[in-house]
């Protein structure tokens, strides 16, 4: 192998293994191992990549071995920081033509390990979210604060505390033994980020638009799902995100008012994202380990068809509520029941749900179903409750219009 290759590998390794001396040792070790390994298994297609990977693994092992020394702590901190530094910022993309192709594969691996580290169960959920966005997503503290409408100092403190715990308690930057459990946590965090960007009420303000936050979640989910194809919930979440995102252009009208799914102009859905969603979903389903994200993706997939099969969606919700019971799942199921069996049937289910009195979509669903069963004054009251609880501007505009409709139908208020 050419000498300049060695120099380039060394440069790559210094950051990865936390020091020039160790990088040199590891590279020597890899060169020393090559003859016997290649004699046994044949010369690899990309010998440079082989040497790099072996040297990098040796470096990581060396870091790990120095468990009881203070230098070890510093080395691990350097790996963590190197991983952070290696993450491209928002808007930056890995350059396909970059000759340092090995480096890209490595960044992908580092990024995955960072994401898994960020979702370590020893960290609180809000710290997991902030860390994932900061370390794996490359967002600034200010951007995260803006997206979640919390003071920047709060986000900064969450991140500082979490990093302190990572170092003090020595949470390792490795692929964990409990990979399935960890990838479920990762899916939960990424799903929360996506929802915050796509569905929730707080991300409208600030420097980061909702769509950017949602796209960030999609990128991170795609990275994780690519790296861990044996963990189908990540693929399920990716499919769900892509199906939702495909409807972005049709979700609001020219005035920014929410358009309900049934009334959306389906020709404005992004077919490329839909087909990417199906690709991700079929890979996930092929693992034959169904989970709640995959079931939600199946429901979203059903909506991409020309004619929605609501009875099938009700069956999917039956499955979903057996996995993750809760009033919000019941509400969504009730809406599907109303489409499959009529508004009276749906309303009966909605009225049996408790615990959603402060959830705007509960009152919106009731308003919608009451209007469809010609109970105008009850519908108007429900829409007014919904309006009082709605914060997202496009949803608020939609709800305000329903209140006006319902009140017009109800007739002028009588003395």
């Amino acid at each position: 192998m050419a000498r300049e290759e060695g120099g380039r590998l060394l440069a790559l390794l210094v950051d990865r293994v936390g020091g020039l001396d160790r990088a040199q040792d590891c590279l020597q070790e890899a060169y020393a191992r090559a003859p016997s390994a290649w004699a046994r298994a044949g010369v690899p297609d990309d010998p440079t990549a082989w040497v790099y990977t072996v040297a990098r693994n040796a470096g990581i092992d060396a870091v790990r071995r120095e468990a009881s020394s203070a230098r070890r702590l510093a080395a691990q901190a350097r790996i963590l920081d190197a991983g952070v530094a290696a993450v491209p910022g928002p808007g930056e993309h890995a350059d396909e033509g970059d000759p340092r192709i090995v480096e890209h594969a490595e960044v992908g691996d580092e990024r995955l390990r960072l994401m898994l580290l960020c979702c370590h169960p020893a960290l609180a959920r809000d710290a997991q979210v902030a860390l994932t966005l900061r370390l794996a997503g490359g967002l600034t503290t200010a951007e995260i604060a803006a997206a979640y409408l919390v003071p920047e100092a709060t986000v900064a403190q969450r991140i500082v505390r979490a990093k302190r715990k990572i170092r003090a308690a020595r949470i390792p930057l490795t692929i964990p033994a409990d990979l399935t459990e960890r990838s479920v946590a990762l899916a939960t965090v990424l799903g929360m980020v996506f929802n915050e960007g796509y569905l929730a009420h707080t991300a409208a303000a600030g420097t980061l638009t909702r769509a950017e936050l949602a796209d960030q979640a999609i990128r991170l989910t795609a990275t994780a799902a690519d790296a861990l194809p044996m963990e189908p919930e990540l693929g399920g979440l990716l499919a769900l995100e892509l199906f939702h995102r495909s409807r972005e252009a049709a979700r609001t009208d020219a005035d920014g008012v929410l358009v309900r799914l049934a009334e959306q102009d389906r020709s404005r859905w992004d077919r490329t994202l839909v087909s990417r969603g199906f690709a991700a979903l079929s890979l996930a389903l092929a693992q034959r380990r169904l989970g709640p994200w995959q079931v939600q993706a199946l429901i979203a997939a059903e909506h991409t068809r020309g004619r929605t099969d609501w009875a099938r969606i009700v069956r999917h919700y039956d499955l979903l509520r057996s996995m993750t019971p809760g009033p919000v799942v019941e509400l969504n199921r009730a809406v599907a029941v109303s489409e499959a069996d009529g508004p009276e049937a749906g309303l009966a289910v909605v009225d049996g749900i408790t615990g959603l009195e402060d959830y705007h979509l509960f009152h919106a669903a009731r308003g919608h179903l009451l209007a469809r069963t010609s109970r105008a004054s009850e519908a108007a009251a429900a829409w007014r409750r919904a309006a009082a609880l709605t914060h997202n501007p496009s949803e608020a505009a939609f709800v305000a219009a329903r209140v006006a409709d319902a009140e017009a139908y109800e007739g002028p208020p009588r003395p």
């Binding site: 468990a67 009881s68 020394s69 308690a169 020595r170 390792p172 490795t174 033994a177």
Partner: protein, 119 residues
Amino acid sequence: MKYLLIIAADPAIPSPEPGDEGFEEYMKAWFAYDHDLSQAGVLVGGEALQPVETATTVRHDGGATTVVDGPFVELKEHLGGYYLIDVDTLDDAIAWARKVPVGTGAIEVRPIMPMGPDS
């Protein structure tokens, strides 16, 4: 890196006493756990505590001290013992904490603060 595994058990679900049925299996599980820790070369120390009824708390208040009966904090779970282990990472410590044969209870995993250059 040293970690303290602080073992808390739920007194509502008492562990078997000597002479009870199942006592031998119960103790066997603890001995096996001790043995595994030793075999893995990670055991630094560990003891079981007498029941919480035997606890006495010496409270310090800016130099003044008072002695009172009972543990320093009343919890649903009572401290029952501890292990001090020396492993590489928190994940290793958690893996050992998962194996503590406590039945029903909780294990708090606390890293020991490093003191000096080589701890």
